[in-house]
Symmetry: C2
């Protein structure tokens, strides 16, 4: 019978042996290396569902994860890269926060230049509250080339190149006090969308809260992306002024809704808090109304308007389309949406927008076709206090579906299937927005914020994996102090019923959103293409140290050291300078082997650089202290790694 | 038969069902939620060994890991906490590197004070090359109270309290240019051992390499630990001068060898490098001799000598026992050891020391009894250039066992069983040091440095799990750029043969050593014991904000804000100050629920504080910019988390 099975479906012999062992699990004594499947499951208290979950998530040595999950690290300020289905943390990418293992902000001049781009009001900002990563798209699908991510606390966007997984650019938005509705990309990454959260004067000035309606404003910035340069282009970037409501999430239209963007606004009450003075706190004041607004923005037309003379005003060096102009030009409309909306998620075919109001148990399904008709027919219920036309709610929705308590964010699986997080239940609800019915609920642990489905916000979702980004973990993990990890739960959504597969603790940061891409879509560099390469310019370095040309050149009080690193030595091994000299080290890793990274640390100088194979970096510092300072390789690169050292000698 | 099995060993019905399914895997179609075990294994290409490995490492939701692995993050500067057997990263503890998610060095005054303790030569040092974590011990076993870790690049030791997993103290060692042989504790944590690596003048002055033998020195510091205070006590700390050799690892004697410490020295050639001048590079110069030295130090006697007047010299404010005094007082001996030794590991019973020379294929087993006899008999082969007696090699070893290429580090499993890492093969060798024979080798992926066995360096190893800390991962993981993660491989060592269970990528740092402790040994606080608690002093805060007493007090140009945080608001929600005012926020999280952490960020001010339930912190900054700055909760704490906000208004 075992032979027949082998013949019929070609099960590997080992698996058949496993099958036999399992059937025989207690008849034979076990004890062989791999143990006995039945005995192990029993000994570890694994249920049948646990056993299948274990097999669905286990990636054996030598095999690789199928997907990469790019997650924000929340107020950790970085990006997390996690393999799916194993849920293993493959890399923490240094983005807004200096990180020494990667040499991010610890001596490599280029990394300091990128971090310096992120200064605000001339103050270095060395962390971020990263919320929403956005993979670059071509024709509405992830193309695996770039990743963008926003900073809520200090309105900024970072650009990461997915060839080497390094941050290449940070841009700041001085008009905003805070952002939340970013980063979201248009279907060909023409623009990166960033929307303000908490309102403030756009010119950065002081104004009392008593002048909130007159002087405080919201804004939405459309950052132009230059794909060839791999940089956001400030000159082609424009801003649209918004009322002082607070923007939550954004999404870009696609297919029939291409050219438009959709943004939630909440706190349209324009509450200004003040619990200490007997006013309603923000939590109450911003939740008083039954309806807030979905902002509907024509970014394609806005780009043309922004290019016309006299249609924009300059605020802090940015081109801003005033609200009135946006209204006159037909760039901006509001749709009423149920209370305290969080997500505004465009369906894969671009024909509908699904909005969930976290204080309303329903998801509201807006029809793009009906929105267009209502705009054409000027089917408005009126305008808001700032003259923005409000579309007639009943005229533009396909319907509402009761999902449960605290619906936040929706992802898609194709064929009308959607998944929405329910923060308060807490669970994930699987439903069909075409048939307008709930299919199934799965409890999660605990308090889920966003969801990330495999390519679940593209025009072609994969419909196999879903990750629930849970904010509280409570009793899920071995205690590690009063600050608990978050809990990413992997869910199998390929079958007729959802199955919870895996709990993965996030012990570095508090992620908000993540995107999951098929790993084979990326074109990752495993080493730099040539020796003496500059990762920031992604081109050969201008003045690199090259093998055979190592030297020390004094230029006045500037000492240039051309140094190479190779297993297991630096050349040169001695650097002698005078106290007060400026030292400039041109350092090149001349290795060409995969994984042959070297580190370069100078003791007591706060310098640690990571140089990957081929990489060249420049390290500048002042030798302001006399003494003897070893420099050495901080990556365990070879058996004689501890001997990969030199001495910096600083003469008084 | 199935009933008999149930009856006989009580396998859960679900598992039996699973057994049946697996046996029938191709006969039935599968398709139920949990899928069909056989079909899943086949579809995912899992071998029988993979299936058992998956079941041995899978921890289902609601169950917890049995062990905690405390690992250095290498030049990431932090400590990693990993659950075993799942190998999930539960937490990254902020130690030497500022980390905003934990609010470590981002505005909470106490965290800045701890980080400031780590300044060297008045220069802030904001990273570390952490190498060796050491769990506190009582009677030679981990007691789960404290964790110590060293910084190689900037000789320092940090103290972490395992009640709240926060760093409480950083001490600096100005005598050293670099350390490696730390942190290692004595059996009751009387002292934390720290040994210098690269030699330099102890007084921190400049000296040319031509004066290396005269002016450069090594050192070993014994940091006294005050367990009640939870701090290292500088006043009771002492140093022993060493020759300018380079120290690698250390270990403390236990049982019969209690009171002694053992340190490897390498580069006893006193090579000074200079490849650029035609000298042999360090890698060659430091590997020329066949023998280096094992330093044998009587720390118990040394503590008494250090307390005697005239026996020590003061160098940079530290009590130093000169080499000559150490020799005269019988505190310091050398034993020859084969070339370029890395590990010096004391057996669980304390009767033997196992040394592996990474350029020698053998492990050398030293007998503590024979060492004592040789010392008593003055059985010396001579002295080194500094007058330190060298014990007769043949008189003190029990033997040598050929293990393989590049032996680095040894851990224990009891009953004479040891595991040694072989960097060059690369593999882990299981052998018996009593029977002096190799039992088995297991290939690892790749280039293993240290090993960490369950309680494997205590007097009572558990002998079930072993982690191989591999430095290169090459083809093991989905590509994430030219900088690759390291690879921790979990190995089942409970059975007669080792089984590789799991590959876990380390994508944040490059760990060197780790220790694995039974999780139930820790007494972890899940919230702080009372509202208004100061984590640094581990006591009630001196001037905390308390509920009902929130207020704003102006004291000259200092504005004191007494603020509380609770779901979902801060009190007060408005802070209005004048430009130039010094703002002091006394912030208390008045929650008492597990996991009810709040964050506190001030936009554009580089401030982000994490306050756990009950915690109180002080945040000081100067309001040097006029404008409107929202402050908000950075931990997604409730459905109305986005409304947990206030406004800092700075009047020009």
């Amino acid at each position: 019978m075992r032979d027949r099975k082998l013949y019929r479906v070609g099960i590997p012999l080992a698996v058949v042996a496993g099958a036999f062992l399992l059937a025989m699990s207690c008849a034979d004594g076990g004890g062989q290396v791999s143990g006995d499947v039945g005995d192990i499951a029993q000994a570890r208290g694994l249920s049948q569902a646990d056993v299948t979950a274990a097999l669905k998530t286990y990636v054996p040595t030598g095999k690789m994860d199928e997907y990469l999950l790019f997650s924000s690290a929340g107020h950790g300020g970085q990006v997390l890269v996690i393999g799916v289905p194993s849920m293993r943390l493959l890399k923490v990418i240094g983005v807004f926060t200096p990180e020494p293992w990667q040499g991010w902000g610890y001596g490599a001049e280029d990394t300091h230049l990128v971090l310096a781009e992120g200064e605000m009001n001339n103050r270095p900002i060395t962390w971020a509250d990263t919320h929403h990563p956005a993979l670059s798209e071509t024709d509405g699908d992830y193309d695996g080339q770039y990743l963008f991510i926003n900073d809520k606390a200090n309105p900024r966007i970072a650009v990461i190149d997915l060839r080497d997984f390094e941050t290449k650019q940070i841009v700041t938005d001085p008009l905003m006090a805070s952002n939340h509705g970013g980063a979201f990309v248009t279907p060909n990454t023409e623009y990166v969308i960033e929307a303000a959260q908490y309102a403030a004067p756009l010119d950065g000035s002081y104004a009392p809260l008593s002048e909130y309606e007159e002087k405080y404003r919201g804004a939405i910035t459309f950052w132009k992306f230059d794909r060839d340069a791999g940089r956001l282009d400030l000159d082609q970037t424009f801003v649209i002024e918004l009322p002082p409501y607070w923007q939550d999430l954004s999404d870009a239209g696609k297919g029939p809704s291409f050219g438009w963007a959709f943004l939630n606004s909440f706190c349209s009450e324009m509450a200004t808090g003040g619990i200490e003075s007997g006013n309603p706190p923000f939590e109450a004041g911003c939740s008083a109304n039954d309806m807030d607004y979905l902002a509907i923005v024509n970014w394609q037309a806005a780009a043309e308007v922004a290019a016309q003379p006299g249609k924009t005003v300059q605020i802090q060096g940015r081109r801003v389309i005033p609200i009135q102009t946006a209204v006159e030009e037909g760039l901006l409309y509001f749709a009423p949406e149920p209370k305290s909306p969080h997500g505004a998620d465009v369906t894969p075919d671009g024909t509908q927008i699904i909005v969930s109001g976290k204080l309303d148990p329903h998801a509201t399904i807006y029809s793009w076709e009906k929105i267009q008709q209502a705009i054409a027919n000027q089917d408005f219920s009126g305008t808001d206090d700032f003259g923005i036309p409000i579309l007639n709610f009943d005229a533009i929705i396909d319907g509402q579906v009761e999902l449960g308590l605290g619906p936040l964010h929706t992802q898609f699986a194709g064929n009308g299937v959607a998944f929405t997080s329910l923060f308060l239940e807490p669970s994930v609800v699987k439903w069909n927005y075409e048939q307008m019915q709930v299919i199934e609920k799965l409890p999660v642990h605990y308090n889920v914020g966003h969801l990330a489905a495999a390519e679940g916000d593209t025009k072609s979702p994969d419909g196999n994996y879903l990750v629930s980004l849970n904010k509280w973990s409570l009793d899920r993990f071995t205690p590690v102090g009063p600050l608990l990890p978050q809990n990413f739960q992997l869910i199998d959504v390929a079958g007729p019923q959802m199955q919870l597969l895996y709990d993965s603790p996030i012990g570095i940061g508090e992620p908000h959103y993540a995107q999951m891409i098929k790993a084979d879509k990326l074109n990752v560099w495993q080493t730099y293409p040539e020796i003496g390469f500059d990762p920031r310019r992604m081109a050969p370095a201008e003045d690199p140290a090259m093998p055979g040309e190592e030297r020390i050149e004094r230029r006045g009080n500037e000492v240039h050291v051309y140094m190479t690193a190779i297993r297991s030595h630096f050349t040169p091994e001695h650097i002698e300078v005078n106290q007060g000299d400026n030292v400039v080290i041109h350092l090149t890793n001349v290795e060409q082997a995969l994984d042959a990274t070297h580190g370069f640390a100078v003791d007591k100088h706060n310098i640690n650089v990571s140089i990957e194979p081929g990489e060249s970096q420049v390290i500048r510092f002042t030798a302001d202290q006399a003494g003897v300072f070893p420099y050495y390789c901080t990556e365990f690169c070879s058996a004689l790694h501890l001997e990969m050292v030199g001495y910096l000698l600083v003469k008084p």
